[in-house]
């Protein structure tokens, strides 16, 4: 992969600035349609998922009290793994995105939710929602590209250390939640100098992470095992395996979102003065979907609809599947490629890239832009992406809520 600005065949060269703005308008319309129809059905969906997850977790932990018996260990571990995956993906990730804030239920709200994860929700929200979702796939801005430890683009200079990146990636996958916690802390950068290490802000954040990890570890590796008495070690192992499975699974799903072939990256300068349409376009080109069954979508937290999620991060996750055909049709009409594939294929493709880029480039990267970049249509001196939004009159129907 090479940033889109440096590609020989720029996949968006055929789009005029008007086309790009038209794409923005069409996408806004799709968003409005879903927003206007959010309601009791969606609320019931997330409450049901939460209920199922909690019952499954309680049930599995109950079974694990007797984990000395191999069948109990197997069933309990499997159940707990699924419960932990659901909790992080379809529930935690999406609630923390504010997808369910509109329900105004303080128990299911991005400002109050805390998840079963090493990184405190507060810090994850900042690095994920604010940086990754805003600067998706912009080299140098979006640290999700390789998490600052890997080379994921031909344009990133090669270093002999990169030879080990397949191994780093695997280790990162196994301890993914801790990797994310370190990443949300920007540990690498903040530990670099004495000054940064001493920064009270960093120290406070570090303390929060330590406390969070402490509680998590105490729960999974001390308290629950202790409760199982003679099954102490077995329960401890079961919880470790469940965490490992959850880590491997979420790492795989997330790798599939932005690494497989077909996904574009962007130059830092390309996003200055980006309009709403250009921002949408970058999200469209910078994400890849995973195809599969309904269950598959739920287990990935609907990140299998990564394209739809990146276009509309705050749409309730159960709606992504619904709008996917419209989005696909839009891609087709504008001659863009909608990257999607089954999980094994996408995982393999992402891994292939990690391995390929651990070696230096075979051909040098072109030095100058070969084709006009989307930012070529920047609207001068307008760095406000909101400028692209049409001002619309207030929705009369919703004012009905004001009267008793």
């Amino acid at each position: 992969m090479t940033t889109i600005q440096h590609k020989k065949h720029n996949p968006i060269a055929h789009l005029t600035p008007e086309d790009i703005e038209q794409i923005g308008i069409e996408l806004d319309a799709i968003r409005d349609e879903v927003m206007a129809s959010r309601g009791a059905r969606d609320a019931a969906y997330i409450r049901r998922v939460i209920k199922v997850q909690r019952s499954l977790e309680l049930g599995s932990r109950g079974v694990l009290l007797f984990s000395l018996f191999p069948p109990a260990w197997l069933i309990g571990t499997a159940g707990l793994s699924v419960a932990k995956i659901l909790e992080n993906m379809e529930i935690g990730h999406n609630i923390l995105h504010g997808q369910w804030d509109w329900m105004r239920d303080p128990k299911i709200h991005s400002t109050t939710w805390e998840w079963d994860h090493a990184s405190p929700a507060e810090q994850w929200k900042r690095s994920h929602n604010e940086l990754h979702h805003t600067y998706t796939n912009v080299i140098g801005r979006d640290n999700d590209l390789g998490y600052g430890i890997m080379r994921v683009d031909e344009e990133q200079p090669w270093h002999p250390l990169h030879l080990g990146q397949p191994l780093w990636n695997f280790v990162n996958a196994c301890f993914f939640e801790y990797g994310i916690a370190a990443y949300d802390l920007e540990l690498g950068e903040n530990l670099a100098t004495k000054e940064k290490r001493r920064d009270p802000k960093f120290r406070a954040a570090l303390k929060k992470v330590r406390r969070k990890i402490g509680k998590q570890v105490l729960k999974d590796y001390i308290v629950h095992p202790a409760l199982s008495g003679p099954s102490f070690l077995h329960t401890m192992a079961a919880n470790a395996v469940a965490n490992l499975i959850r880590n491997l699974w979420s790492h795989s799903v997330i790798m599939c979102g932005h690494f497989p072939s077909g996904v574009e990256t962007f130059e830092t300068t390309s996003i200055d003065g980006e309009t709403r349409g250009q921002w949408y376009l970058r999200q469209m080109l910078g994400s890849a979907n995973i195809s599969g069954s309904r269950l598959m979508h739920i287990m990935t937290g609907n990140l299998s609809h990564q394209i739809e999620h990146h276009l509309f991060p705050d749409l309730p996750s159960n709606r992504y599947a619904e709008i996917a055909p419209k989005i696909k049709d839009l891609f087709q009409r504008y001659g863009l490629s909608y990257t999607s594939g089954p999980l094994p294929k996408q995982v393999a493709s992402a891994w292939a890239k990690v391995i390929r880029l651990s070696l230096p480039n075979r051909t040098p990267v072109p030095a100058a832009p070969a084709a006009p970049a989307p930012a070529a249509v920047r609207s001068a001196a307008d760095d406000n992406r909101r400028a692209g939004w049409a001002q619309k009159p207030a929705v009369a129907a919703s004012t009905a809520h004001t009267a008793a």
Partner: protein
């Protein structure tokens, strides 16, 4: 005792460790939602139609529900189309029932999302959210010797709460109640029965036939008007009239009024924004995001992407109306509400107060 208490706190702490980052009650809520004292809820036990447009809900309250004073109201949170909306309703039952039940009577207001939903869709078993009972519209102790209640429409509800619990302690009670027709009188049968027993003197006014009650007429209906301590509840116009009338007679201290909240002002075109914590007040034009207005005025505002996707800029709207700049959707908050809004994509749609 101390041992038991220590054991109990210990058990609670262990339970907390088992369920972190959630609370044990988050799991219990699924089976026993009324046991959670931190999040007061109520279950609808029965729905009794009162008139064509109103119904009484019998609510089973849960743990931690405090005793209310007759005349007080309670804010009730109802999920309407998936969104939790809060409205205030007077408690109409006597306090301290051993079964922990209370009743509220809801009048379906035209265009009222919550009241219509409750009157039409409330069913036995439905779960509602509660706030603590509140309000100053209560009878003093010792009870006054002579009392007058002037009510109109659903304004009878807090008064009914008082009559049901305190009538034995009140010697001389007059109730002047207005409703459109005889059939529209909420609690009509009960009031008439009380009157028939001679426990109250009831003056019914049917406004469709006889027109609205004028304060001047009150002197004819109740000759010892200004010798009575008076409680009034109803539409704002009526209460304004009464307030003037009592003030003119220099009897303002004898009149207590309860106003139902007026609807939130929605101009759709900006308005005065008050940032409550910093005390900053700015005028906005309805196109500028609250985030920008606040920052321009020097308020420390949380922010992130500034384009509506990261939810870092969310602040509670305590009162007023804001409009989503992306799709025009309105969000309104009444006093007592605290509704989180994304300030980077919301503009004022009327005067509003933000917690920042």
């Amino acid at each position: 005792m101390a041992v038991i208490r220590t054991l109990r706190t210990g058990a609670r702490r262990v339970a907390g460790l088992l369920t972190t980052p959630l609370l044990p009650t988050d799991y219990l809520d699924a089976i026993a939602p009324l046991r959670n004292a931190e999040v007061p809820r109520a279950r609808v036990e029965a729905v009794r139609p009162e008139t064509a447009n109103s119904a009484t809900l019998v609510l089973q309250t849960g743990r931690g529900w405090p005793r209310h004073e007759p005349g007080q109201y309670v804010r009730i949170g109802v999920d309407v189309d998936g969104v939790r909306l809060w409205r205030s309703y007077s408690v109409t039952s006597a306090p301290g029932r051993p079964d922990g039940r209370i009743t509220v009577t809801v009048n379906a207001v035209a265009g009222g999302a919550v009241s219509t939903h409750l009157v039409r869709h409330a069913r036995r078993g439905m779960l509602l959210h509660l706030d603590r009972p509140a309000g100053e519209f209560v009878l003093p102790r010792p009870r006054p010797a002579r009392t007058l209640f002037v009510t109109a429409g659903s304004g009878i509800t807090p008064v009914m709460g008082m009559l049901r619990s305190c009538l034995n302690e009140l010697a001389d009670v007059v109730v002047v109640h207005s409703a459109r027709t005889r059939e529209d009188v909420v609690f009509g049968a009960e009031l008439r029965a009380l009157a028939a027993q001679g426990r109250i003197r009831l003056v019914e006014r049917h406004t469709r036939a006889d027109g609205r009650l004028k304060p001047a007429e009150l002197t004819d209906l109740v000759p010892d008007l200004f010798e009575r301590e008076t409680w009034a509840c109803g539409p704002n116009e009526l209460l304004d009239d009464l307030t003037t009338h009592w003030a003119d007679a220099e009897a303002a201290h004898l009149l207590h009024v309860e106003r139902f909240r007026s609807a939130v002002a929605v101009s759709g075109e900006g308005g005065t924004v008050t940032f409550l914590r910093s005390g900053t007040v700015v005028e906005t034009d309805g196109t500028e995001p609250l985030l920008d207005s606040g920052e321009a005025a020097g308020v420390l505002m949380p922010s992130g992407c500034r384009m509506g996707i990261c939810f870092s800029c969310v602040l509670p709207l305590r009162e007023g109306a804001v409009r989503d700049l992306r799709d025009g959707r309105l969000t309104t908050a009444e006093p007592g509400d605290s509704i989180p809004v994304q300030t980077c994509v919301s503009a004022a749609a009327g005067p509003c107060r933000l917690d920042a």
